[in-house]
Symmetry: none
Subunit: 252 residues, 2 copies
Amino acid sequence: MSGPVIPVYMQIVDTMLERIEQGELTPGDRLAPERALAGDFGVNRRTIRQALEVLERRGLIERRQGSGTFISEPRMERGASEFFHFTERIRQRGFAAGSEVLSLERVVPSPFVATELEISPDAEIYRFHRLRTISSRPVLIETFALPADLVPGFDAFDVTERSVYEIMRTEYDIHVAYARQSLEAVALSQIEAQWLGASPGAPAMLERRLAFDEQGRPVDFGTDLYRGDRVRFVTDAATVAVPTGTEVSAAP
Amino acid sequence: MSGPVIPVYMQIVDTMLERIEQGELTPGDRLAPERALAGDFGVNRRTIRQALEVLERRGLIERRQGSGTFISEPRMERGASEFFHFTERIRQRGFAAGSEVLSLERVVPSPFVATELEISPDAEIYRFHRLRTISSRPVLIETFALPADLVPGFDAFDVTERSVYEIMRTEYDIHVAYARQSLEAVALSQIEAQWLGASPGAPAMLERRLAFDEQGRPVDFGTDLYRGDRVRFVTDAATVAVPTGTEVSAAP
DNA sequence: TGCCATGATTGGTATATACCAATCTGACAT
DNA sequence: ATGTCAGATTGGTATATACCAATCATGGCA
Protein backbone atom coordinates (compact mmCIF):
# COMPACT_ATOMS: atom_id res chain seq x y z
CA MET A 1 0.00 0.00 0.00
CA SER A 2 3.03 2.02 -0.46
CA GLY A 3 2.81 5.11 -2.58
CA PRO A 4 3.55 5.30 -6.25
CA VAL A 5 5.77 2.60 -7.64
CA ILE A 6 9.03 4.07 -8.84
CA PRO A 7 10.86 1.73 -11.21
CA VAL A 8 14.26 0.60 -10.03
CA TYR A 9 16.03 2.20 -12.95
CA MET A 10 14.49 5.59 -12.12
CA GLN A 11 15.67 5.23 -8.52
CA ILE A 12 19.15 4.63 -9.88
CA VAL A 13 18.79 7.73 -12.06
CA ASP A 14 17.91 9.72 -8.97
CA THR A 15 20.86 8.34 -7.05
CA MET A 16 23.22 9.31 -9.83
CA LEU A 17 21.69 12.76 -10.14
CA GLU A 18 22.38 13.20 -6.42
CA ARG A 19 25.97 12.16 -6.83
CA ILE A 20 26.39 14.68 -9.58
CA GLU A 21 24.74 17.30 -7.42
CA GLN A 22 26.92 16.49 -4.41
CA GLY A 23 29.97 16.90 -6.57
CA GLU A 24 30.97 13.25 -6.19
CA LEU A 25 30.86 13.15 -9.96
CA THR A 26 32.04 16.11 -11.98
CA PRO A 27 32.21 16.74 -15.73
CA GLY A 28 34.81 14.57 -17.41
CA ASP A 29 34.69 11.87 -14.75
CA ARG A 30 34.32 8.32 -15.87
CA LEU A 31 31.61 6.22 -14.31
CA ALA A 32 32.25 2.70 -13.14
CA PRO A 33 31.69 0.11 -15.88
CA GLU A 34 28.13 -1.01 -16.37
CA ARG A 35 28.90 -4.46 -15.01
CA ALA A 36 30.40 -2.96 -11.88
CA LEU A 37 27.45 -0.61 -11.38
CA ALA A 38 25.13 -3.57 -11.73
CA GLY A 39 26.99 -5.27 -8.91
CA ASP A 40 27.05 -2.16 -6.73
CA PHE A 41 23.36 -1.53 -7.07
CA GLY A 42 22.56 -5.21 -6.90
CA VAL A 43 20.61 -5.20 -10.13
CA ASN A 44 20.92 -6.59 -13.59
CA ARG A 45 23.18 -4.87 -16.08
CA ARG A 46 20.18 -4.29 -18.33
CA THR A 47 18.56 -2.24 -15.56
CA ILE A 48 21.69 -0.11 -15.21
CA ARG A 49 21.60 0.47 -18.96
CA GLN A 50 18.02 1.69 -18.73
CA ALA A 51 19.10 4.24 -16.15
CA LEU A 52 22.07 5.31 -18.24
CA GLU A 53 19.82 5.71 -21.26
CA VAL A 54 17.70 8.20 -19.33
CA LEU A 55 20.76 10.17 -18.26
CA GLU A 56 22.13 10.08 -21.78
CA ARG A 57 18.91 11.43 -23.25
CA ARG A 58 19.06 14.29 -20.78
CA GLY A 59 22.56 15.05 -21.95
CA LEU A 60 24.17 14.40 -18.57
CA ILE A 61 26.42 11.57 -19.64
CA GLU A 62 28.19 10.42 -22.76
CA ARG A 63 28.88 6.78 -23.58
CA ARG A 64 31.77 5.57 -25.67
CA GLN A 65 32.00 1.94 -26.63
CA GLY A 66 35.21 0.33 -25.53
CA SER A 67 36.05 3.35 -23.45
CA GLY A 68 33.49 4.05 -20.81
CA THR A 69 30.72 6.36 -19.69
CA PHE A 70 31.55 9.95 -18.83
CA ILE A 71 29.88 12.90 -17.16
CA SER A 72 29.34 15.57 -19.80
CA GLU A 73 29.88 19.26 -19.54
CA PRO A 74 26.72 20.92 -18.25
CA ARG A 75 24.77 22.47 -21.09
CA MET A 76 24.11 25.87 -19.65
CA GLU A 77 24.21 27.71 -22.94
CA ARG A 78 21.46 30.20 -23.27
CA GLY A 79 20.80 29.61 -19.60
CA ALA A 80 17.73 30.71 -17.78
CA SER A 81 19.15 34.01 -16.63
CA GLU A 82 19.72 35.16 -20.18
CA PHE A 83 16.93 33.53 -22.00
CA PHE A 84 13.87 33.89 -19.89
CA HIS A 85 14.08 37.49 -18.85
CA PHE A 86 11.23 39.02 -20.72
CA THR A 87 11.11 42.10 -18.57
CA GLU A 88 14.70 43.26 -18.87
CA ARG A 89 14.77 42.63 -22.58
CA ILE A 90 11.72 44.76 -23.20
CA ARG A 91 12.82 47.56 -20.91
CA GLN A 92 16.22 47.68 -22.58
CA ARG A 93 14.41 48.46 -25.77
CA GLY A 94 12.70 51.37 -24.15
CA PHE A 95 9.26 49.88 -23.66
CA ALA A 96 7.25 49.50 -20.50
CA ALA A 97 6.84 45.84 -19.53
CA GLY A 98 3.72 44.92 -17.59
CA SER A 99 2.40 41.78 -15.99
CA GLU A 100 -0.93 40.48 -14.71
CA VAL A 101 -1.69 37.20 -13.00
CA LEU A 102 -4.75 35.60 -14.56
CA SER A 103 -4.96 32.57 -12.29
CA LEU A 104 -2.99 30.78 -9.60
CA GLU A 105 -4.04 27.51 -8.05
CA ARG A 106 -2.72 24.39 -6.43
CA VAL A 107 -4.14 21.37 -8.24
CA VAL A 108 -3.58 17.77 -9.18
CA PRO A 109 -2.05 17.69 -12.66
CA SER A 110 -3.26 15.77 -15.65
CA PRO A 111 -1.48 12.45 -16.18
CA PHE A 112 0.41 13.96 -19.09
CA VAL A 113 1.76 16.85 -17.07
CA ALA A 114 2.65 14.54 -14.21
CA THR A 115 4.59 12.36 -16.59
CA GLU A 116 6.47 15.26 -18.10
CA LEU A 117 7.40 16.57 -14.66
CA GLU A 118 8.21 13.05 -13.48
CA ILE A 119 6.03 13.31 -10.42
CA SER A 120 3.40 10.90 -9.17
CA PRO A 121 -0.05 11.47 -10.63
CA ASP A 122 -1.50 12.48 -7.28
CA ALA A 123 1.25 14.90 -6.33
CA GLU A 124 0.10 18.47 -6.68
CA ILE A 125 1.38 21.33 -8.80
CA TYR A 126 1.12 25.08 -8.75
CA ARG A 127 -0.46 26.10 -12.01
CA PHE A 128 -0.87 29.68 -13.10
CA HIS A 129 -1.32 31.97 -16.05
CA ARG A 130 0.28 35.36 -16.43
CA LEU A 131 -0.43 38.00 -19.04
CA ARG A 132 2.51 40.07 -20.26
CA THR A 133 2.14 43.49 -21.79
CA ILE A 134 4.39 45.91 -23.64
CA SER A 135 3.35 49.55 -23.43
CA SER A 136 0.07 48.33 -21.95
CA ARG A 137 -0.67 46.19 -24.99
CA PRO A 138 -1.08 42.42 -24.35
CA VAL A 139 1.65 40.39 -26.00
CA LEU A 140 1.74 36.94 -24.49
CA ILE A 141 0.19 34.53 -22.03
CA GLU A 142 2.58 32.47 -19.95
CA THR A 143 1.54 29.18 -18.40
CA PHE A 144 3.50 27.48 -15.64
CA ALA A 145 3.25 24.13 -13.86
CA LEU A 146 5.60 23.76 -10.91
CA PRO A 147 5.75 20.62 -8.73
CA ALA A 148 4.32 21.76 -5.39
CA ASP A 149 6.79 19.57 -3.52
CA LEU A 150 9.65 21.60 -4.91
CA VAL A 151 8.17 25.01 -4.17
CA PRO A 152 5.88 24.68 -1.10
CA GLY A 153 4.05 27.87 -0.32
CA PHE A 154 4.79 29.29 -3.73
CA ASP A 155 1.50 31.17 -3.82
CA ALA A 156 2.78 33.44 -1.05
CA PHE A 157 5.02 35.25 -3.51
CA ASP A 158 4.00 38.02 -5.83
CA VAL A 159 4.34 36.69 -9.34
CA THR A 160 3.19 40.01 -10.73
CA GLU A 161 6.36 41.77 -9.78
CA ARG A 162 8.94 39.01 -9.66
CA SER A 163 10.32 36.53 -12.16
CA VAL A 164 9.19 32.97 -11.51
CA TYR A 165 12.68 31.55 -11.97
CA GLU A 166 14.13 34.27 -9.77
CA ILE A 167 11.75 33.22 -7.00
CA MET A 168 12.68 29.59 -7.48
CA ARG A 169 16.35 30.50 -7.30
CA THR A 170 16.35 32.81 -4.30
CA GLU A 171 13.57 31.26 -2.24
CA TYR A 172 13.99 27.57 -3.01
CA ASP A 173 17.57 27.29 -4.28
CA ILE A 174 16.32 25.75 -7.52
CA HIS A 175 18.45 26.86 -10.42
CA VAL A 176 16.85 26.45 -13.81
CA ALA A 177 19.66 25.43 -16.13
CA TYR A 178 18.16 24.58 -19.48
CA ALA A 179 14.92 23.92 -21.25
CA ARG A 180 13.56 21.84 -24.04
CA GLN A 181 11.49 24.17 -26.14
CA SER A 182 9.63 24.24 -29.40
CA LEU A 183 7.78 26.82 -31.44
CA GLU A 184 4.73 26.36 -33.58
CA ALA A 185 2.02 28.48 -35.17
CA VAL A 186 -1.49 28.04 -33.82
CA ALA A 187 -4.83 29.80 -33.94
CA LEU A 188 -6.13 31.59 -30.85
CA SER A 189 -9.04 30.07 -29.00
CA GLN A 190 -11.88 32.26 -27.86
CA ILE A 191 -10.64 32.75 -24.32
CA GLU A 192 -7.05 33.26 -25.37
CA ALA A 193 -8.11 35.86 -27.90
CA GLN A 194 -10.07 37.66 -25.23
CA TRP A 195 -7.09 37.82 -22.89
CA LEU A 196 -4.80 39.01 -25.65
CA GLY A 197 -7.30 41.48 -27.05
CA ALA A 198 -7.31 39.77 -30.43
CA SER A 199 -9.83 37.89 -32.53
CA PRO A 200 -10.47 34.17 -32.14
CA GLY A 201 -8.65 32.27 -34.84
CA ALA A 202 -5.95 34.91 -35.17
CA PRO A 203 -2.45 33.50 -35.67
CA ALA A 204 -0.26 33.07 -32.62
CA MET A 205 3.08 31.58 -31.71
CA LEU A 206 3.00 28.76 -29.18
CA GLU A 207 6.19 27.97 -27.33
CA ARG A 208 6.19 24.72 -25.36
CA ARG A 209 8.68 24.50 -22.56
CA LEU A 210 10.04 21.83 -20.22
CA ALA A 211 12.68 23.33 -17.95
CA PHE A 212 15.28 21.42 -15.93
CA ASP A 213 17.46 22.46 -13.04
CA GLU A 214 21.18 21.88 -12.83
CA GLN A 215 20.66 18.34 -11.63
CA GLY A 216 18.49 17.52 -14.58
CA ARG A 217 15.22 17.46 -12.64
CA PRO A 218 12.17 18.76 -14.51
CA VAL A 219 11.04 21.81 -12.58
CA ASP A 220 8.62 23.62 -14.88
CA PHE A 221 6.32 22.56 -17.66
CA GLY A 222 4.45 25.23 -19.51
CA THR A 223 3.85 27.34 -22.55
CA ASP A 224 4.18 30.87 -23.85
CA LEU A 225 1.49 32.02 -26.24
CA TYR A 226 2.45 35.11 -28.25
CA ARG A 227 0.16 37.29 -30.33
CA GLY A 228 1.36 36.70 -33.86
CA ASP A 229 1.25 40.35 -34.86
CA ARG A 230 3.23 41.62 -31.89
CA VAL A 231 6.28 39.44 -31.79
CA ARG A 232 9.05 38.28 -34.05
CA PHE A 233 11.68 35.68 -33.18
CA VAL A 234 15.15 36.36 -34.48
CA THR A 235 16.85 33.13 -35.47
CA ASP A 236 20.01 34.13 -37.28
CA ALA A 237 21.89 31.11 -38.52
CA ALA A 238 25.27 30.11 -39.78
CA THR A 239 25.86 27.18 -42.08
CA VAL A 240 27.96 25.41 -39.52
CA ALA A 241 26.41 22.11 -38.72
CA VAL A 242 24.44 22.46 -35.55
CA PRO A 243 24.31 19.34 -33.41
CA THR A 244 20.83 19.51 -32.01
CA GLY A 245 18.59 16.89 -30.59
CA THR A 246 16.59 16.92 -33.76
CA GLU A 247 19.38 15.39 -35.75
CA VAL A 248 18.58 11.81 -36.45
CA SER A 249 21.17 9.15 -35.85
CA ALA A 250 21.32 5.51 -34.97
CA ALA A 251 22.59 6.32 -31.51
CA PRO A 252 20.06 7.67 -29.05
CA MET B 1 34.20 -9.63 -45.17
CA SER B 2 30.57 -8.80 -45.35
CA GLY B 3 29.52 -5.18 -45.54
CA PRO B 4 28.84 -2.96 -42.58
CA VAL B 5 27.05 -4.69 -39.78
CA ILE B 6 23.60 -3.23 -39.34
CA PRO B 7 21.99 -4.26 -36.09
CA VAL B 8 18.80 -6.20 -36.46
CA TYR B 9 16.77 -3.58 -34.63
CA MET B 10 17.93 -0.90 -37.05
CA GLN B 11 16.93 -3.08 -39.99
CA ILE B 12 13.51 -3.34 -38.41
CA VAL B 13 13.43 0.43 -38.03
CA ASP B 14 14.21 0.77 -41.74
CA THR B 15 11.49 -1.68 -42.65
CA MET B 16 8.95 0.23 -40.65
CA LEU B 17 10.06 3.55 -42.08
CA GLU B 18 9.48 2.08 -45.53
CA ARG B 19 6.02 0.94 -44.59
CA ILE B 20 5.21 4.40 -43.35
CA GLU B 21 6.62 5.96 -46.48
CA GLN B 22 4.77 3.54 -48.74
CA GLY B 23 1.55 4.44 -47.02
CA GLU B 24 1.02 0.95 -45.63
CA LEU B 25 0.96 2.62 -42.26
CA THR B 26 -0.66 6.00 -41.92
CA PRO B 27 -1.02 8.38 -38.99
CA GLY B 28 -3.41 7.06 -36.40
CA ASP B 29 -2.92 3.43 -37.36
CA ARG B 30 -2.19 0.99 -34.62
CA LEU B 31 0.80 -1.29 -34.98
CA ALA B 32 0.59 -4.96 -34.24
CA PRO B 33 1.35 -5.75 -30.58
CA GLU B 34 5.03 -6.08 -29.71
CA ARG B 35 4.69 -9.80 -29.16
CA ALA B 36 3.13 -10.24 -32.59
CA LEU B 37 5.79 -8.12 -34.27
CA ALA B 38 8.44 -10.21 -32.59
CA GLY B 39 6.89 -13.30 -34.13
CA ASP B 40 6.52 -11.69 -37.56
CA PHE B 41 10.11 -10.54 -37.70
CA GLY B 42 11.33 -13.71 -36.07
CA VAL B 43 13.17 -11.88 -33.32
CA ASN B 44 12.89 -11.41 -29.60
CA ARG B 45 10.37 -8.98 -28.21
CA ARG B 46 13.21 -7.02 -26.62
CA THR B 47 14.67 -6.41 -30.11
CA ILE B 48 11.34 -5.11 -31.34
CA ARG B 49 11.25 -2.78 -28.38
CA GLN B 50 14.66 -1.40 -29.29
CA ALA B 51 13.37 -0.61 -32.76
CA LEU B 52 10.23 1.00 -31.37
CA GLU B 53 12.33 3.08 -28.99
CA VAL B 54 14.20 4.54 -31.94
CA LEU B 55 10.98 5.35 -33.76
CA GLU B 56 9.52 6.84 -30.61
CA ARG B 57 12.51 9.14 -30.10
CA ARG B 58 12.15 10.29 -33.67
CA GLY B 59 8.55 11.16 -32.97
CA LEU B 60 7.13 8.73 -35.49
CA ILE B 61 5.16 6.58 -33.11
CA GLU B 62 3.42 6.92 -29.80
CA ARG B 63 3.12 4.11 -27.29
CA ARG B 64 0.33 3.78 -24.79
CA GLN B 65 0.48 1.09 -22.18
CA GLY B 66 -2.48 -1.21 -22.21
CA SER B 67 -3.61 0.26 -25.48
CA GLY B 68 -1.05 -0.11 -28.22
CA THR B 69 1.48 1.62 -30.40
CA PHE B 70 0.27 4.20 -32.90
CA ILE B 71 1.67 6.08 -35.88
CA SER B 72 1.82 9.74 -34.99
CA GLU B 73 0.97 12.70 -37.10
CA PRO B 74 4.05 13.63 -39.12
CA ARG B 75 5.49 16.93 -38.15
CA MET B 76 8.66 18.32 -39.53
CA GLU B 77 10.98 19.33 -36.76
CA ARG B 78 13.96 21.56 -37.12
CA GLY B 79 16.12 23.76 -35.00
CA ALA B 80 15.21 27.41 -35.19
CA SER B 81 18.74 28.34 -36.15
CA GLU B 82 19.15 25.81 -38.93
CA PHE B 83 17.89 26.52 -42.37
CA PHE B 84 19.52 24.04 -44.68
CA HIS B 85 18.98 20.58 -46.00
CA PHE B 86 15.25 20.25 -45.89
CA THR B 87 15.44 17.18 -48.04
CA GLU B 88 18.04 15.30 -46.06
CA ARG B 89 16.37 16.02 -42.77
CA ILE B 90 13.03 14.77 -43.96
CA ARG B 91 14.43 11.64 -45.55
CA GLN B 92 16.37 10.84 -42.41
CA ARG B 93 13.10 10.81 -40.58
CA GLY B 94 11.80 8.27 -43.02
CA PHE B 95 9.48 10.41 -45.07
CA ALA B 96 9.48 11.15 -48.77
CA ALA B 97 10.51 14.72 -49.48
CA GLY B 98 8.99 16.24 -52.60
CA SER B 99 9.35 19.50 -54.42
CA GLU B 100 7.44 21.45 -57.04
CA VAL B 101 8.39 24.71 -58.71
CA LEU B 102 5.42 27.05 -58.73
CA SER B 103 7.05 29.89 -60.65
CA LEU B 104 10.44 30.98 -61.97
CA GLU B 105 11.09 34.30 -63.66
CA ARG B 106 13.74 36.90 -64.27
CA VAL B 107 12.40 40.29 -63.23
CA VAL B 108 13.29 43.73 -61.95
CA PRO B 109 12.91 43.68 -58.16
CA SER B 110 10.91 46.02 -56.04
CA PRO B 111 12.92 48.86 -54.54
CA PHE B 112 12.75 47.18 -51.14
CA VAL B 113 14.19 43.91 -52.39
CA ALA B 114 16.88 45.75 -54.35
CA THR B 115 17.89 47.57 -51.21
CA GLU B 116 18.06 44.41 -49.14
CA LEU B 117 20.16 42.66 -51.78
CA GLU B 118 22.29 45.77 -52.21
CA ILE B 119 21.90 45.86 -55.97
CA SER B 120 20.91 48.74 -58.22
CA PRO B 121 17.15 49.18 -58.63
CA ASP B 122 17.28 48.27 -62.31
CA ALA B 123 19.45 45.15 -61.94
CA GLU B 124 17.43 42.00 -62.39
CA ILE B 125 16.81 39.07 -60.08
CA TYR B 126 15.69 35.48 -60.44
CA ARG B 127 12.56 35.11 -58.41
CA PHE B 128 10.83 31.82 -57.84
CA HIS B 129 8.49 29.89 -55.58
CA ARG B 130 8.86 26.27 -54.67
CA LEU B 131 6.39 24.03 -52.86
CA ARG B 132 7.83 21.42 -50.52
CA THR B 133 6.00 18.27 -49.55
CA ILE B 134 6.42 15.51 -47.01
CA SER B 135 4.80 12.22 -47.95
CA SER B 136 3.03 14.10 -50.74
CA ARG B 137 1.46 16.52 -48.28
CA PRO B 138 2.30 20.23 -48.72
CA VAL B 139 4.33 21.65 -45.87
CA LEU B 140 5.92 24.91 -46.95
CA ILE B 141 6.30 27.44 -49.72
CA GLU B 142 9.80 28.75 -50.31
CA THR B 143 10.41 32.07 -52.00
CA PHE B 144 13.80 33.06 -53.39
CA ALA B 145 15.24 36.24 -54.90
CA LEU B 146 18.75 35.84 -56.32
CA PRO B 147 20.67 38.69 -57.98
CA ALA B 148 20.81 37.70 -61.65
CA ASP B 149 24.32 39.09 -62.01
CA LEU B 150 25.59 36.55 -59.51
CA VAL B 151 23.87 33.52 -61.03
CA PRO B 152 23.50 34.16 -64.81
CA GLY B 153 21.55 31.44 -66.56
CA PHE B 154 20.19 30.15 -63.26
CA ASP B 155 16.92 29.13 -64.89
CA ALA B 156 18.78 26.42 -66.80
CA PHE B 157 19.05 24.31 -63.66
CA ASP B 158 16.42 22.01 -62.29
CA VAL B 159 15.34 23.46 -58.99
CA THR B 160 12.90 20.60 -58.51
CA GLU B 161 15.63 18.11 -57.90
CA ARG B 162 18.52 20.17 -56.60
CA SER B 163 19.08 22.40 -53.61
CA VAL B 164 19.29 26.07 -54.53
CA TYR B 165 22.33 26.65 -52.37
CA GLU B 166 23.97 23.53 -53.77
CA ILE B 167 23.55 24.91 -57.30
CA MET B 168 24.99 28.24 -56.21
CA ARG B 169 27.93 26.47 -54.67
CA THR B 170 28.83 24.02 -57.41
CA GLU B 171 27.83 26.03 -60.48
CA TYR B 172 28.71 29.57 -59.39
CA ASP B 173 31.18 29.06 -56.55
CA ILE B 174 28.97 31.09 -54.23
CA HIS B 175 29.08 29.72 -50.71
CA VAL B 176 26.18 30.72 -48.55
CA ALA B 177 27.62 31.18 -45.08
CA TYR B 178 25.15 33.03 -42.93
CA ALA B 179 21.57 34.20 -42.83
CA ARG B 180 19.61 36.75 -40.90
CA GLN B 181 16.31 35.13 -40.14
CA SER B 182 13.19 35.76 -38.20
CA LEU B 183 10.07 33.80 -37.38
CA GLU B 184 6.56 35.06 -36.95
CA ALA B 185 3.05 33.67 -36.91
CA VAL B 186 0.77 34.79 -39.72
CA ALA B 187 -2.53 33.85 -41.28
CA LEU B 188 -2.59 32.23 -44.73
CA SER B 189 -3.86 34.27 -47.65
CA GLN B 190 -6.25 32.75 -50.12
CA ILE B 191 -3.63 31.78 -52.68
CA GLU B 192 -1.16 30.52 -50.09
CA ALA B 193 -3.85 28.39 -48.52
CA GLN B 194 -4.65 26.94 -51.90
CA TRP B 195 -1.04 25.94 -52.54
CA LEU B 196 -0.67 24.46 -49.11
CA GLY B 197 -4.01 22.70 -49.19
CA ALA B 198 -5.23 24.57 -46.11
CA SER B 199 -7.94 27.06 -45.32
CA PRO B 200 -7.48 30.79 -45.77
CA GLY B 201 -6.77 32.36 -42.40
CA ALA B 202 -5.20 29.19 -41.01
CA PRO B 203 -2.13 29.81 -38.84
CA ALA B 204 1.28 29.57 -40.48
CA MET B 205 4.88 30.23 -39.63
CA LEU B 206 6.61 32.85 -41.75
CA GLU B 207 10.38 32.80 -41.84
CA ARG B 208 12.05 35.82 -43.41
CA ARG B 209 15.57 35.24 -44.68
CA LEU B 210 18.45 37.32 -45.96
CA ALA B 211 21.42 35.08 -46.76
CA PHE B 212 25.03 36.17 -47.19
CA ASP B 213 28.02 34.45 -48.73
CA GLU B 214 31.44 34.14 -47.15
CA GLN B 215 32.38 37.64 -48.29
CA GLY B 216 29.33 39.10 -46.65
CA ARG B 217 27.49 39.82 -49.91
CA PRO B 218 23.72 39.39 -49.79
CA VAL B 219 22.98 36.52 -52.18
CA ASP B 220 19.41 35.53 -51.41
CA PHE B 221 16.39 37.30 -50.04
CA GLY B 222 13.27 35.32 -49.42
CA THR B 223 10.81 33.60 -47.15
CA ASP B 224 9.66 30.19 -46.02
CA LEU B 225 5.99 29.84 -45.25
CA TYR B 226 5.18 26.75 -43.19
CA ARG B 227 1.77 25.24 -42.55
CA GLY B 228 1.29 25.75 -38.84
CA ASP B 229 -0.03 22.27 -38.21
CA ARG B 230 2.81 20.50 -39.96
CA VAL B 231 5.95 21.94 -38.47
CA ARG B 232 7.51 22.54 -35.10
CA PHE B 233 10.67 24.49 -34.46
CA VAL B 234 12.89 23.08 -31.77
CA THR B 235 14.65 25.77 -29.79
CA ASP B 236 16.40 23.72 -27.14
CA ALA B 237 19.10 25.25 -25.05
CA ALA B 238 21.34 22.47 -26.35
CA THR B 239 22.05 24.38 -29.52
CA VAL B 240 24.78 26.85 -28.71
CA ALA B 241 23.79 30.04 -30.48
CA VAL B 242 24.14 32.35 -27.52
CA PRO B 243 25.24 35.42 -29.51
CA THR B 244 22.42 35.22 -32.03
CA GLY B 245 19.94 33.24 -30.00
CA THR B 246 16.24 33.64 -30.11
CA GLU B 247 15.15 37.10 -29.18
CA VAL B 248 11.81 38.65 -28.68
CA SER B 249 11.16 42.03 -30.13
CA ALA B 250 8.13 44.21 -30.17
CA ALA B 251 6.63 44.28 -33.61
CA PRO B 252 6.31 47.67 -35.32
C1' DT C 1 63.27 4.33 -28.32
C1' DG C 2 59.49 3.43 -30.99
C1' DC C 3 56.12 0.53 -33.07
C1' DC C 4 52.52 -2.67 -33.10
C1' DA C 5 50.36 -7.23 -32.20
C1' DT C 6 47.43 -9.09 -28.74
C1' DG C 7 44.55 -9.69 -25.06
C1' DA C 8 41.70 -7.35 -21.58
C1' DT C 9 38.19 -3.98 -20.87
C1' DT C 10 33.97 -1.71 -21.90
C1' DG C 11 29.81 -0.53 -24.11
C1' DG C 12 26.39 -2.64 -27.85
C1' DT C 13 23.30 -6.22 -29.47
C1' DA C 14 20.38 -10.20 -28.92
C1' DT C 15 17.82 -14.19 -26.77
C1' DA C 16 14.66 -16.33 -23.36
C1' DT C 17 11.69 -15.75 -19.59
C1' DA C 18 8.66 -13.77 -16.07
C1' DC C 19 5.75 -10.75 -13.95
C1' DC C 20 3.67 -5.88 -13.32
C1' DA C 21 0.56 -1.99 -14.71
C1' DA C 22 -2.56 0.39 -17.62
C1' DT C 23 -6.27 -0.21 -20.68
C1' DC C 24 -9.97 -2.28 -23.08
C1' DT C 25 -13.76 -5.68 -23.78
C1' DG C 26 -17.67 -7.98 -22.79
C1' DA C 27 -20.65 -10.56 -19.81
C1' DC C 28 -23.54 -9.81 -16.17
C1' DA C 29 -26.46 -7.53 -12.75
C1' DT C 30 -29.41 -3.78 -11.99
C1' DA D 1 -30.49 0.75 -21.31
C1' DT D 2 -26.86 1.43 -17.97
C1' DG D 3 -23.32 0.61 -14.78
C1' DT D 4 -19.85 -2.53 -12.92
C1' DC D 5 -16.47 -5.76 -12.47
C1' DA D 6 -13.50 -9.78 -14.05
C1' DG D 7 -10.58 -11.27 -17.40
C1' DA D 8 -7.92 -10.56 -21.61
C1' DT D 9 -4.81 -7.58 -24.03
C1' DT D 10 -0.90 -4.63 -24.38
C1' DG D 11 3.03 -2.01 -23.19
C1' DG D 12 6.54 -1.56 -18.98
C1' DT D 13 10.02 -3.44 -15.93
C1' DA D 14 13.40 -6.77 -14.50
C1' DT D 15 16.48 -10.96 -14.47
C1' DA D 16 19.97 -14.15 -16.43
C1' DT D 17 22.97 -15.16 -20.11
C1' DA D 18 25.84 -14.87 -24.25
C1' DC D 19 28.44 -12.97 -27.67
C1' DC D 20 29.97 -8.86 -30.72
C1' DA D 21 32.56 -4.43 -31.57
C1' DA D 22 35.30 -0.57 -30.32
C1' DT D 23 38.93 0.92 -27.47
C1' DC D 24 42.83 0.74 -24.49
C1' DA D 25 46.88 -1.01 -22.04
C1' DT D 26 50.55 -4.07 -21.97
C1' DG D 27 54.55 -6.20 -23.31
C1' DG D 28 57.52 -8.00 -26.79
C1' DC D 29 60.10 -6.99 -30.91
C1' DA D 30 62.79 -4.22 -34.25
